[in-house]
């Protein structure tokens, strides 16, 4: 029987319920904070802050870091919140993963070596992080928040995210594997 509590302990909701929820969240973020939901600048700020810790104030002189400003801001906290929110949902639904290094789809094609998977994740992350800053946004900033505002830059980016992603995924799973 569905109860209010079981809604929260279900592992999955309908993707439409989730999407509508994110859409309503975007209304509130514009209304309350005057900002769209986005995440990738935070990773660039984190990189700059690490450089600042290692090299000191000199890191701040990079023109890109001057532009995005190395500080803990609204979006930084949003990214921290995503980690917490996902953790809460995973714990409530008994879906928190312990000791999982290799996703099952990956292991079905490339075996269960954690080292290989982590190495490829690093390479993928580098390409993704570079591409996100090159395009000026990611799947949330361009893909959801930008497209819902009908921004030309975001529609072009979102379509290219999927063109690049679909081609690369097919090469990985049908040519390399």
């Amino acid at each position: 029987m569905e109860t209010i509590a079981s809604v929260f302990t279900d592992t999955y909701w309908s993707p439409y319920a989730v999407g509508i929820g994110i859409g309503i969240l975007s209304w509130l973020s514009f209304l309350i904070s005057g900002k769209p939901i986005a995440t990738s600048t935070t990773f660039a700020r984190a990189g700059g802050m690490i450089e600042e810790m290692v090299r000191g104030e000199k890191a701040n002189q990079r023109s890109y870091y001057e532009k995005i400003k190395l500080q803990i801001d609204w979006q930084w906290m949003l990214v921290i919140g995503v980690v917490i929110g996902s953790f809460i949902s995973a714990i409530l639904s008994g879906d928190f993963q312990v000791g999982v290094w290799v996703p099952s789809l990956w292991s079905s094609a490339f075996g269960d070596s954690a080292i290989l998977r982590v190495l490829v994740a690093v390479i993928g992350g580098i390409i993704l992080g570079f591409g996100a800053r090159f395009a000026g946004g990611c799947t949330s900033g361009h893909g959801i928040s930008g497209t819902l505002q009908l921004a030309v830059s975001s529609w072009i980016s979102a379509v290219c995210f999927f063109i690049g992603g679909i081609i690369a995924a097919h090469i990985i799973y049908f040519v390399i594997a």
């Binding site: 990773f43 801001d73 999982v100 395009a135 690369a168």
Partner: protein, 196 residues
């Protein structure tokens, strides 16, 4: 009355950001809900994201398109009431096409994106917590190093700025919003009918 108060508070919170800690808590709260929803949608999982890119699992597209359709109605309604202002990213062909394609390749190789990897971290996936996070930060750092060379070259190629589709077509917002939402709903129906 309520709405105008909210609008004012949104403005003041922007200008007071440096001293005022409130926006940080608000951001955290938005993030918690966003992360909760991403996990409930399965979007914090490599298998679901790469399944989408392999065109065998359409969960990601269903989430994104229904979020975009829902968001678009509300944002354009609130814009027409004068409650919110759009916050558009300016762009260029070089930036969005090349950057978008590079991002796409990384998306497929990593199997998470910057938002969903934060969700994957909360979900406990160790490949995301270690290699994925480190890689993304390194990638943005490489961009920061190359930025002085890129900014007046490739990033400026085909510059068009921060325009919207209605602005580009020089039509009323709703002339684009209504067909866009109709199209999204039709695509979603088609995906369901095709059995995905």
């Amino acid at each position: 009355m309520k709405e105008s108060e909210k609008k004012v508070s949104a403005k003041t919170s922007d200008t007071e950001e440096k001293e005022d800690k409130r926006p940080l808590y608000v951001g955290l709260a938005f993030g918690i809900v966003f992360g909760f929803l991403l996990h409930k949608g399965g979007a914090t999982k490599y298998d679901v994201i790469v399944g989408q890119l392999l065109l065998i699992d359409f969960t990601v597209l269903k989430i994104m398109l229904s979020a975009v359709a829902t968001g678009m109605i509300g944002i354009y309604f609130m814009k027409s009431m004068g409650w919110v202002k759009l916050s558009l990213k300016s762009g260029s062909v070089g930036m969005n096409v090349i950057g978008g394609l590079i991002f796409g390749v990384g998306f497929a190789v990593l199997g998470y994106c910057p938002g969903t990897i934060a969700g994957a971290v909360g979900n406990g996936y160790l490949d995301a917590i270690t290699g994925g996070l480190a890689g993304i930060v390194i990638g943005t750092w490489i961009f920061a190093i190359m930025y002085p060379k890129l900014k007046d070259g490739i990033l400026k190629k085909g510059y068009f700025g921060d325009i919207t589709l209605p602005g580009l077509l020089k039509v009323n917002d709703w002339v684009v919003v209504v067909p866009a939402i109709t199209l999204i709903v039709l695509v979603l129906f088609w995906i369901e009918r095709a059995g995905f």
